[in-house]
Amino acid sequence: MSARPAAEPAPSAPAPARRIGRLEVRGLSKRFAHVVALSNFDLDVQSGEFISLLGPSGCGKSTALNCLAGLVEPDAGRILLDGEDLARVPPERRGFGVVFQSYALFPHMTVARNVAFGLEMMGVRPEAVAERVRQALALVHLEDLGDRYPAQLSGGQQQRVALARALVIEPRLLLMDEPLSNLDAKLRLEMRLEIRRLHQRLGLTTLYVTHDQEEALSLSDRIGLMKDGVLRQVGTPEEVYLHPDTAFVANFFGYRNVFRVHADAVHDGRATVTIPGGLRLEGTPRSGVRQGADAVAAVRPEDVEVGGPGGVDHGIPATVEFAEFVGDAFECSVTADAGVVFVVRTPDRWAQGARVLLRVDPSRLLVFPPE
């Protein structure tokens, strides 16, 4: 924030007084007919923090965002902004910026009119509106397209207009609902950097909803993992990536080998588990794993070592089913003699049917309580 280049216009950076101190969400719940969309959702967001809600579709992340925006009325719960409860305040009086997945640009207004809309609603003087619209469009590099209509813009440009329209009102909180999901892969990467740049520059407190873990990892200060309307784990990208609390979170972050197991022994930070079929593995238990009970074991493809007979002196005997070249490595599907299928990532090209030995690093095999 301090390193703002002098050449660029000082745009919609909110005055410090308008910054929110702290967003506290307490016990937010919403039920649609017989489906619990959001259950007892608690979240604390610091001023200037970028927090992502991540989860599969239907996990409640969009419901949480819509409740915060005021577009869905929660059944219960409080939304405290510096201690003031906004849960029953209509969206038009919350002063939050919202970027929709479909952009929701007004098709009958030019780009400039779209961006000006929020300012006009706030009663900003026309001269000031024009200047702030110009600055906001410069911020998203669209200064020359103010006279165009949304239908005349590309998807990426529409996305930028949607951002400018949300930013120009100097929102106390910026809410983004899967803003990049309608863009192709290359544009998505470009806009991801753009969003990151804008956040670093403006320091707006941001809640970002996505189902793409890469987006969440690269953009966020913290990530909240959601499933079935429940917030499962909140942590920095490193925390959730390296130390998932649950098998669900692990699976979301690339632990593609997930097994239902029986925990034979749990002590001293080490667990011995048996996969049905008789395969025994050593792993690291996460909290809640009980000895003698069912558990879930998970390991990433890159944490399974593959060696030919003689290469690794002991390991799980297995046969390579097929190998896929994925650019920097090969991903192989390997069936252990005990009948268990592993996905492994290896630098070597293994022929189909090759006999191999698998070794799993006990510190990398995480053991979770059953879901």
């Binding site: 038009e92 952009y103 706030m122």
Partner: protein, 305 residues
């Protein structure tokens, strides 16, 4: 490859079409529709126009435009335009005003929506005559409407609802409503609800959302509904006779044409009246479409769905 393909296709089709100057191919799919328009609209219109320019009887010596001069020169005949306008315009306006909020409210699935929509559309299935019969009973001096008003002590004497302007007004308003509602419902369903939500998050209250977002996006639908409604109500005929006062305040223009044709057997004069009627309708539709073209035309969703 390129040349081979060109050689195969080239001599067969493209040059011949170019020599002919006109390609009939694209017209083939629209030919049936074109035929219908020619036979059912253009021919009768041209025939009627030609007929109207050949006055007969006492008007035969008055020149080509004698039928028109007679119509506009006779206060009794001329008044039929006003009698029709003062029905068509307020009825259309009322139905638009009633249908717009309903269509907007029902544009998204609601509990009981199918039932509500069905109830709103039923009048379309009744037909004018059935509707008129029902009205004469319901709104008659001993009908339920008057009984209710009397019982509530809102009136002392039965109100005359039928066989006057009011009767035709009510009948037209009921019969015309479904079409207006259905046209608007179609347009309203096409407006992305996210747009209003976006407007809300930007601080727009209900009035600002209506004025700046909803109405502009519905303008083409309102124009279409207004044009349809006006044309339908301007050509009112049966209800003007059955529940109106055909010898007085509800002697509408269609009735004037009918009397000329089938009471006085003056087809040319009837045709002239029909031409006047058509001209008024065309002018109104042109005005509405011109107004619509000043408003926004384009997609009614914001961005990529």
């Amino acid at each position: 490859m390129q040349r081979a393909a060109g050689a195969r296709v080239g001599p067969g089709t493209a040059p011949r079409a170019r020599r002919g100057g006109l390609r009939w191919g694209p017209l083939v799919p629209i030919a049936p529709a074109l035929l219908v328009v020619l036979v059912l609209f253009v021919y009768p219109f041209a025939y009627g126009l030609a007929l109207s320019l050949h006055p007969i009887g006492a008007l035969a010596r008055g020149g080509m435009l004698a039928n028109y001069a007679a119509f506009f020169g006779t206060p009794w005949e001329r008044a039929s335009i006003w009698n029709t306008l003062r029905l068509a315009v307020p009825v259309s306006a009322l139905d638009l005003a009633l249908a717009l909020p309903l269509a907007y409210r029902l544009r998204r699935p609601l509990p009981g929506q199918r039932l509500i929509t069905a109830l709103l559309v039923i009048p379309m299935t009744l037909g004018t005559v059935l509707l008129a019969e029902g009205m004469i009973e319901f709104f008659g001096p001993a009908g339920w409407a008057n009984k209710a008003l009397l019982a509530l002590h809102l009136v002392r004497m039965p109100v005359q609802f039928v066989h006057n302007y009011t009767g035709v007004f009510i009948s037209l308003a009921i019969a015309d409503f479904p079409a207006v509602f259905l046209v608007l419902l179609g347009y309203a369903s096409g407006v992305d609800p996210r747009l209003e939500q976006a407007a809300r998050t930007l601080g727009a209250g209900w009035w600002a959302r209506l004025r700046r977002v909803t109405l502009p996006l519905l303008a083409p639908g309102i124009a279409a509904a207004a044009a349809l409604s006006f044309v339908a109500t301007f050509s009112v005929f049966p209800s003007a006779v059955l529940v109106g006062e055909p010898a007085g305040s509800t002697r509408v223009i269609a009735l004037a044409a009918w009397q000329a044709a089938y009471e006085q057997f003056d087809y040319p004069r009837a045709s002239a009246i029909a031409m006047v009627m058509a001209a008024i309708e065309l002018v109104f539709v042109a005005l509405v479409l011109a107004a619509r073209n000043r408003a926004y035309r384009g997609p009614t969703i914001g961005g990529r769905g």
